[in-house]
């Protein structure tokens, strides 16, 4: 069943634990089964299942308060914070370079895992599961404007974890040495692990 894969994938990204993910999927499937009457025929069933899963996650598996998550992401206006040269992430421009793509994918998933829950949930639903803003707003129970701002902050957090910029306004100025490329990123990783 394709939906089960999506549920498990999402649960795994939300809980970051294989056993918690299994429990979460089971709780969500049972809840969906019990409340199937609430599913509106003709609407996106996968989005509805993901909504149930997200709700169960936040009601039973939540580890962080929203306040602490906001603090973890840092204060400040999420929209006006600067990004620094991230355009040189080559794989996007040369999709045939599969190895680099894979490297990027692994790094992005690792960065995703470190994003606070509320923001991670929105990012997963948008970018992994491809839900629309309206479906995400419905799933997490907040206005579309909040979805937009959480998504923005979540992506910015991922970029930061990848070392791809998104520093404060005062660091906006770019210098040659700061040019970010996948090579530079890979070298940094090598240094960090070696």
């Amino acid at each position: 069943m394709p939906h089960l894969d999506a549920l498990h994938r999402t649960a795994l990204r939300l809980t970051r634990s294989g056993s918690d993910a299994d429990d979460l999927v089971q709780d969500a499937v049972l809840k969906a089964y019990r409340f199937f009457d609430h599913y509106e025929a003709g609407t996106n069933f996968r989005a509805w299942l993901l909504k149930v899963l997200t709700n169960v996650f936040f009601s039973k598996y939540r580890r962080q308060t929203l306040d602490s998550q906001m603090r973890a992401l840092g204060e400040g206006d999420p929209v006006s914070d600067g990004w620094m040269g991230m355009a040189t992430m080559a794989p996007n421009r040369e999709p045939e370079r599969l190895a680099e793509r894979a490297l990027l994918e692994g790094a992005v998933l690792k960065a995703l895992d470190e994003v606070p829950e509320e923001f991670r949930a929105v990012l997963i639903l948008a970018d992994v599961e491809g839900l629309t803003y309206r479906e995400i707003a419905d799933a997490v129970g907040c206005p579309i404007g909040t979805v937009m701002s959480r998504l923005h902050r979540a992506r910015r957090a991922v970029a930061t974890k990848l070392g791809l910029g998104a520093h404060g306004g005062e660091q906006k100025k770019k210098s040659e040495g700061d040019v970010l490329s996948l090579d530079a990123f890979r070298n940094r990783k090598k240094e960090a692990s070696g």
């Binding site: 994938r9 992430m89 629309t132 803003y133 923005h152």
Partner: protein, 273 residues
């Protein structure tokens, strides 16, 4: 550059294709002349692309499928007591159709798919006492009280000795030999222990009151599976595989020193008369 703040407010939505044409045009006009914002849009696209690519090739574990099936069965049994059967069937049908028949796939895969490669899941820390008890009694290999290779004759030994009916258990299609039996205990209840030899390895079938069985949703260390379309649980304790199932109020525990997949293979050939 002027308009950066405004653009950043909407660039995520622009990449996501969520902007109306007017707002999209505004963003595009700015991006055409602002490199920094263009880079931000490219970064968002890169992250989005990498996350979308992570969808590929992810499959939920087979053990989860069988576990869900057992959980849904349990749910059905609970519902049956409060809901009209017809309404329940309709509900279930709708759920399955919309859900692309999750349970049907789990059924078709059967226990083979759920067990393949994964093996028993029980960890020592979560080991239920029942499982441990059964494994221990299998391991001790106490002397038999009745010998014989004819299941019906051995089963008759228990008549009047146990407060549950002990029916003969045959294994079809596997080289199983009944060695003998004795009265045993499972969780302080009297039980029949039937000793078999399968391909030179010991298999013990414990027959006892199913009241001893843990409730289906309280099965830490036990993995729900389907054997011949019947729910069963498989676990591992002290290095032994234990498969638990229930027929007509009587519990059957099959303990063996074979892997879970082989033990389930034997269980699937069991014929209780």
């Amino acid at each position: 550059m002027e308009g950066c703040d405004e653009t950043r407010r909407y660039v995520d939505a622009w990449v996501d294709g969520e902007l109306d044409p007017g707002a999209a045009l505004m963003v595009e006009t700015h991006l055409a002349r602002c490199e920094e914002c263009r880079e931000e849009a490219d970064a968002i696209r890169s992250i989005k692309g990498a996350l979308a690519a992570s969808r590929e090739g992810h499959a939920a574990p087979g053990s989860l499928r069988s576990r869900l099936l057992a959980a849904l069965d349990e749910e059905d049994q609970e519902k049956a007591s409060v809901e009209h059967a017809t309404a329940r069937r309709k509900h279930a049908t709708g759920f399955l159709l919309a859900g692309a028949a999750m349970t049907t796939i789990a059924l078709a895969t059967g226990w083979r798919g759920s067990i393949n490669g994964t093996g028993p899941v029980a960890g020592a820390a979560m080991m239920p006492p029942l499982l441990d008890d059964i494994a221990q009694r299998h391991a001790r290999n106490l002397p038999v009280e009745v010998t014989g290779s004819e299941p019906t004759q051995v089963a008759n030994f228990f008549t009047g000795r146990l407060d549950i009916p002990v029916r003969p258990v045959h294994f079809r299609g596997v080289p199983a030999r009944l060695v003998g039996a004795r009265i045993s205990n499972v969780s302080d209840r009297m039980a029949a222990a039937l000793y078999y030899e399968v391909g030179g390895r010991r298999v013990t079938v414990f027959v006892f009151d199913s009241a001893v069985l843990p409730r289906a949703f309280d099965t830490d260390g036990l993995q729900p599976v389907r054997v011949n379309n019947q729910p069963a649980y498989v676990g591992n304790a002290r290095g032994y595989t234990v498969v638990l199932s229930e027929r007509r109020g009587i519990a059957y525990a099959v303990a063996s020193d074979m892997p879970a997949s082989d033990t389930l293979g034997i269980v699937s050939q069991a014929d209780i008369q």
